[in-house]
C-alpha cells in the first residue's frame, strides 16, 4: 500500500519540518506577535477576535507554546502528505526522479506557492492589523496557493505545448479582485503605537518569510529523501518497467 507508506512518511517529515519551523517561530516570530498583542489589548477591540470568556484558549507561556508546536507539526504533516502524494505520482509515472537537490527545489516551490504567492496580494498579518472580511481573504488565499501551485507544476512537468496554461494559472489569482483593506493598516488611536506596530509588521514579514523558507526547505529535502528511502523501497524494479 503506497497510501500507507505516504501517510507514515508524512508523519515523519511533518514532525521534523514542524519542529524546525517551531524553533524559528518561537525565537523570531512569536515575540513580534506578543508585542503586537499588547497594543491590541490596550487599543481597540477587534470585533471578530474578542477572546470571549466562554471560548477556550491555551494559557500564555508553556501551554500556548505547546499548542503552537502541535499546530506546526500538524501543518507539516498535512503539507508533507500533499508533497509526497505529488512526488510519488510523478515519479511512478516516470515524469521525474526525485533526488536531494530536486527535493530542495520542491521545497523552494512550496515556499513560493504557499507563502510568497498569497503574501504578494495579502501581506502576512500581525495581531491588530486592519483587514478585509476574513472569509474573502481565506478564499483568495486558497485561490493564490492553488493557482500558483498548479502553475508551477504545469510549467515544471507538463509537455511543452501545455506550459502556457501554467502561466495562466500563475496569473489568475492576481487579475481577480484581491480583498485588500481600504484605509490605514492600524487603527490604534495613539500615533506612536501605530509607528511601533508598523515597524513590528515589517520585521514580522521578514522573520516569518525566513521561518517559512526553512520550513519548506526541510519539507522538500526530507520528503525527497524519505520517498526514495522508504516509500519506493522494493518497488524500484516496477518503476523501471513502467518507464521502459
Amino acid at each position: 500500500m503506497i497510501f500507507r507508506r505516504i501517510i507514515y512518511s508524512a508523519l515523519l517529515v511533518g514532525l521534523l519540518a514542524g519542529l524546525v519551523l517551531s524553533v524559528a517561530q518561537i525565537t523570531t516570530v512569536n515575540p513580534i506577535i506578543f508585542a503586537a498583542e499588547t497594543y491590541e489589548v490596550a487599543g481597540h477591540d477587534h470585533g471578530s477576535h474578542d477572546h470571549s470568556a466562554e471560548a477556550w484558549a491555551p494559557e500564555d507561556g508553556f501551554e500556548r507554546t505547546l499548542y503552537t508546536v502541535f499546530a506546526n507539526v500538524s501543518a507539516g504533516i498535512g503539507f508533507a502528505a500533499i508533497l509526497l502524494a505529488l512526488m510519488s505520482h510523478l515519479q511512478l509515472s516516470g515524469i521525474t526522479t526525485l533526488s536531494l537537490p530536486k527535493g530542495i527545489l520542491w521545497g523552494g516551490a512550496g515556499f513560493v506557492a504557499v507563502f510568497v504567492a498569497p503574501a504578494i496580494g495579502l501581506p502576512p498579518e500581525i495581531p491588530g492589523i486592519e483587514a478585509a472580511a476574513l472569509e474573502k481573504r481565506q478564499l483568495w488565499w486558497v485561490l493564490a496557493v492553488v493557482g500558483v501551485a498548479i502553475g508551477l507544476l504545469i510549467i515544471s512537468f507538463a509537455p511543452i505545448k501545455y506550459k502556457a496554461l501554467g502561466l495562466v494559472a500563475l496569473i489568475i489569482p492576481y487579475i481577480v479582485n484581491i480583498p485588500h483593506h481600504e484605509g490605514p493598516a492600524f487603527a490604534h488611536p495613539d500615533p506612536s503605537a501605530v509607528e511601533a506596530l508598523t515597524s513590528l509588521h515589517s520585521q514580522f514579514i521578514v522573520n516569518s518569510a525566513l521561518s517559512n523558507l526553512l520550513f519548506w526547505l526541510a519539507l522538500g529535502l526530507v520528503a525527497a529523501w524519505v520517498l526514495n528511502r522508504w516509500v519506493f523501497k522494493g518497488i524500484v524494479v516496477n518503476h523501471n518497467d513502467a518507464r521502459a
Binding site: 477587534h46 506546526n72 501543518a75 503539507f79 502528505a81 502576512p124 498579518e125 516496477n238
Partner: protein, 64 residues
Amino acid sequence: MLSNSSSSGLPAESQAKAVVASPMQTVGALAFGLVIIFAVGFMPVEAAHNAAHDSRHALAFPCH
C-alpha cells in the same frame, strides 16, 4: 504488497500497471493532507483558532 507483485511471475507489463495505476491512493494522500491543512489554518471553531493562533499568523494564513 506492491513488492510482492514483482516476484509473482506476472508479465512485466501488468506488473508495471499494478504499481502505476494508483490514482485513488494518491488522491487519498492528497485529501488527508488537505483536511489537516484546513483544520490547522481555516477551521472557524473558536477553540481551534485560539490553539493554532500563533501558527496561523506565522504561516501567513488569514487569521482575524
